[in-house]
C-alpha cells in the first residue's frame, strides 16, 4: 500500500494545475478543489490506519534510498496529515461560502483555488518528507503560495502587511538553505535516517552550529519569540479564511519541523534550556500582546504566538510525556485556532468590523455565532473539560515530573498564560457579545450556510477532540515513544 504515500502531495498539485486551466469556470474550480481535498482527507485517514504497523516509506523516482528523495509516513506525519486535511477542507468550504474574499466580491479571483491547493501540497510535502532538502522544497512551495494568498487582491493594506511577511520568510528560507549546505558539508547526506548516525559521529561544537541553524530557520516559521514579531501584523489583514488556514497550519509546520529534527536528529535535549526560555518568553510576551489589543483578529494572532510557547515547552522537556502532550496540544491548537479565526470572519460580516469598540450585543442578535465563539474560546483558554485543558494539564504534569527549576518556572508561566488567555477572550466576550449593542452604520452581511456549517463542524471537531481525548492521548503517547526511540524510523527508511 506504499503507493498511497505520495498521493497527498500529488493530488493537490494536479488539482492546482486543473483549476488553473479552468480559470473561467468558478463552479468547476470549486468542484475540483473540494473533491481533491476530500480525497486527500480520505487518503490521509487510510495512511493513519496503515502507519500503525510501522512507517511507510516510498523512494520517489525509484532511486535507492540514501541517494534519492524519500517520503516517510510515520504516525506523527499521518496524524498531522489527517488534521491538516480536515482543517483545509473546512476552510475551503468556508471560503466558497464567502464567495471569494472579503471586500473583493466585485472581482472574483481565479487564482484563489490553484494557490490554495498548492499551499496544501506544500504542507503535506513538508509533513511527509524524509529528506531535509525535500523539506526545504515543501516549505518553499507553501511559502510561495502563502505570499500570493496574503497579498490577495493587492490592496494597499495587504501589500504593506505582506511585505514584512515575505521578507522575513525569505530570510528564514535562506538560513534554512545555508544550514542544509553546512549539514551536507559536514555529513555528506541529507536523508534524515542516514543523518541520525552521521550526526552522532560529529564533534559537539559542529552539531551545535547545525542544530542552531535549523532551530533559527524553523523558529521564524513557527513564530517563536523573539522571532515572532512579523506574525501579528501580517496575518490579520488577509481575508478571513486565509488567515484561518495560516494560523492553524503554517506555524504548525514549523513546529512539526522542530519536533521532527529535535527528536530525530538532535536528541538528548542539548538545547533544552534554550528552548524552555524561548517557550516561556513566547508564552508571556505573546499573551501580554494579546491583552493590549483592541482588534479581535490581532488579539487572536497574539494568542497564536503565545500558545506556540506551550508546544515548545513540551519539545524542550524532551521526555516521553512532554512530547506526547506537545503533539496532542499541536493537534488541538490547529483545530481551535483555525475555528476562532473563522468565527472572527463571521463576526466581521455580522458586525461590520473586528474592532472591539465597534462590536456589541452579538449574543442577542446572533446567538448561534455566540455559541460558535464561546466553545472554542473556552477551549483555547483551557477550561476543563475541554481538550485545551487536557493538553495543558499533560504539559504541566510533564513539567512537574521533570522537576528542574526552569520546568517549574514554565509550569507557573503556562498557568499564568492560561489565565491571561481567559482574560483576553473574556474581554472579547464582554465587549462583542455581552454588552448592549453599539450603534454603527455598518449593515450586517448575511453569512451563508456554507460559511456557518464548516465553522460549526470545526467547533464540533474541537468538542470531539475532548471526548476522544483518551484514545488520542494514548496515540500521541505512542508517537512520542516512536520519536524518542528513533530506530523504527531509521530501520524503515534504511532496511
Amino acid at each position: 500500500m506504499t503507493w498511497l504515500v505520495p498521493l497527498p502531495v500529488i493530488m493537490p498539485l494536479l488539482g492546482a494545475a486543473t483549476t488553473l486551466l479552468m480559470f473561467r469556470r468558478p463552479r468547476v474550480q470549486r468542484a475540483i478543489s473540494v473533491s481533491v481535498l476530500t480525497a486527500t482527507l480520505v487518503v490521509s485517514a487510510v495512511l493513519l490506519v496503515l502507519s500503525a504497523d510501522g512507517p511507510l516509506v516510498v523512494a520517489v523516482g525509484g532511486w535507492p534510498v540514501p541517494l534519492g528523495i524519500v517520503l516517510v509516513a510515520d504516525r506523527l506525519a499521518t496524524l498531522m496529515l489527517v488534521v491538516s486535511a480536515a482543517v483545509t477542507l473546512c476552510v475551503l468550504l468556508y471560503s466558497i461560502g464567502q464567495g471569494g474574499t472579503d471586500g473583493d466580491e466585485e472581482h472574483p479571483l481565479s487564482v484563489y483555488h490553484p494557490t490554495y491547493l498548492i499551499l496544501t501540497a506544500g504542507v503535506t510535502n513538508a509533513f511527509l518528507s524524509g529528506d531535509l532538502f525535500n523539506l526545504y522544497v515543501g516549505f518553499e512551495i507553501l511559502l510561495a503560495a502563502s505570499y500570493v494568498l496574503i497579498t490577495l487582491g493587492g490592496t494597499e493594506n495587504r501589500i504593506r502587511a505582506g511585505t514584512t511577511y515575505v521578507v522575513v520568510s525569505l530570510l528564514s528560507s535562506v538560513i534554512f538553505l545555508a544550514g542544509i549546505g553546512l549539514i551536507y558539508a559536514a555529513t555528506g547526506t541529507l536523508n534524515m535516517a542516514q543523518l541520525v548516525e552521521r550526526l552522532d559521529a560529529l564533534p559537539d561544537g559542529v552539531r551545535m552550529v547545525l542544530q542552531g541553524m535549523l532551530l533559527l530557520a524553523f523558529g521564524i516559521k513557527a513564530a517563536i519569540f523573539p522571532l515572532s514579531a512579523w506574525l501579528p501584523d501580517s496575518y490579520p489583514t488577509a481575508p478571513a479564511p486565509v488567515t484561518a488556514v495560516f494560523a492553524g497550519l503554517l506555524t504548525k509546520v514549523g513546529v512539526y519541523a522542530i519536533i521532527r529534527t529535535e527528536t530525530l536528529l538532535f536528541p538528548g535535549g542539548r538545547v533544552a534550556d534554550l528552548l524552555m526560555v524561548a517557550a516561556l518568553s513566547t508564552m508571556l510576551v505573546g499573551i501580554l500582546g494579546a491583552v493590549a489589543q483592541s482588534d479581535l483578529k490581532r488579539l487572536l494572532s497574539f494568542t497564536l504566538v503565545s500558545h506556540i510557547g506551550y508546544l515548545l515547552f513540551g519539545v524542550g522537556l524532551a521526555s516521553r510525556a512532554g512530547i506526547a502532550a506537545a503533539v496532542f496540544y499541536t493537534l488541538h491548537h490547529i483545530i481551535v485556532q483555525t475555528t476562532l479565526f473563522l468565527v472572527a470572519g463571521l463576526i466581521e460580516r455580522r458586525g461590520g468590523s473586528t474592532a472591539l469598540d465597534r462590536l456589541g450585543g452579538l449574543a442577542r442578535t446572533a446567538p448561534v455565532l455566540a455559541i460558535l465563539f464561546f466553545l472554542p474560546a473556552l477551549n483555547l483558554a483551557g477550561i476543563p473539560p475541554f481538550s485545551g485543558f487536557l493538553g495543558k494539564l499533560g504539559l504541566i504534569q510533564a513539567g512537574v515530573d521533570d522537576g528542574a527549576v526552569l520546568s517549574w518556572l514554565l509550569v507557573g508561566g503556562s498557568a499564568l498564560t492560561s489565565l491571561l488567555t481567559l482574560y483576553a477572550l473574556a474581554r472579547v466576550w464582554n465587549l462583542a457579545f455581552w454588552r448592549s449593542p453599539v450603534s454603527t452604520d455598518a449593515t450586517p452581511l448575511r453569512s451563508s450556510r456554507l460559511m456557518v456549517t464548516p465553522t460549526a463542524a470545526l467547533v464540533a471537531a474541537g468538542v470531539v477532540l475532548t471526548l476522544a481525548a483518551g484514545p488520542l492521548y494514548s496515540l500521541t503517547d505512542t508517537v512520542a515513544g516512536d520519536l524518542l526511540e528513533r530506530t523504527p524510523y531509521v530501520e524503515a527508511v534504511l532496511p
Binding site: V167, S173, L177, G181, A355, D357
Partner: protein, 140 residues
Amino acid sequence: MRPSIVLLLAVGVLFAAGTILLLERTLTRVLLGVMLLGNGANLLVLAAAWPGSPPIVGTADPAEMTDPLPQAMILTAIVITLGMTAFLLALAYRSWRLSGHDEVQDDAEDRRVRELAERDEGSDAEDLDTDETETVEVRA
C-alpha cells in the same frame, strides 16, 4: 575534501552585503539583498562538494568526480530564488503604484498601541475615562 577559501570568502561577502541591504527601508534594496543572500547560500551549498572532475559518467574516474548532489540542489534553489525575486519585484511595483514609494512601512496598529501607552491611557476599549491633564504633565 578541501573547500576553496575564495569560494568561502565570496559566501561571506555576499552574506554580509545581503544582510546590510536587507535592513534597508526600501523594498528594491531589500530585493537586491535577498538576491545576494540567495546566491550566497547557493555558493555555500556548492562549497559543500569538493572540487574535482565533472560528474558525468564515462568522462572521469568516479573517485575523482565532484559530488553532483549539491549542484542538483543549487539548481532547485536557484529556480526557487528566481520565483521569489519575481514575486518581490511585483510586490515592489505594486507598492509603488499604490503609494508612490516602495518603503516597508511600520505596523499602523503597533504605532497606535504605542501612542496609547504613551498617553497612559491603556488600550482597553471600555476604559473611556482618561485624565487629560495628567497625561500632559507626563509628556512634558
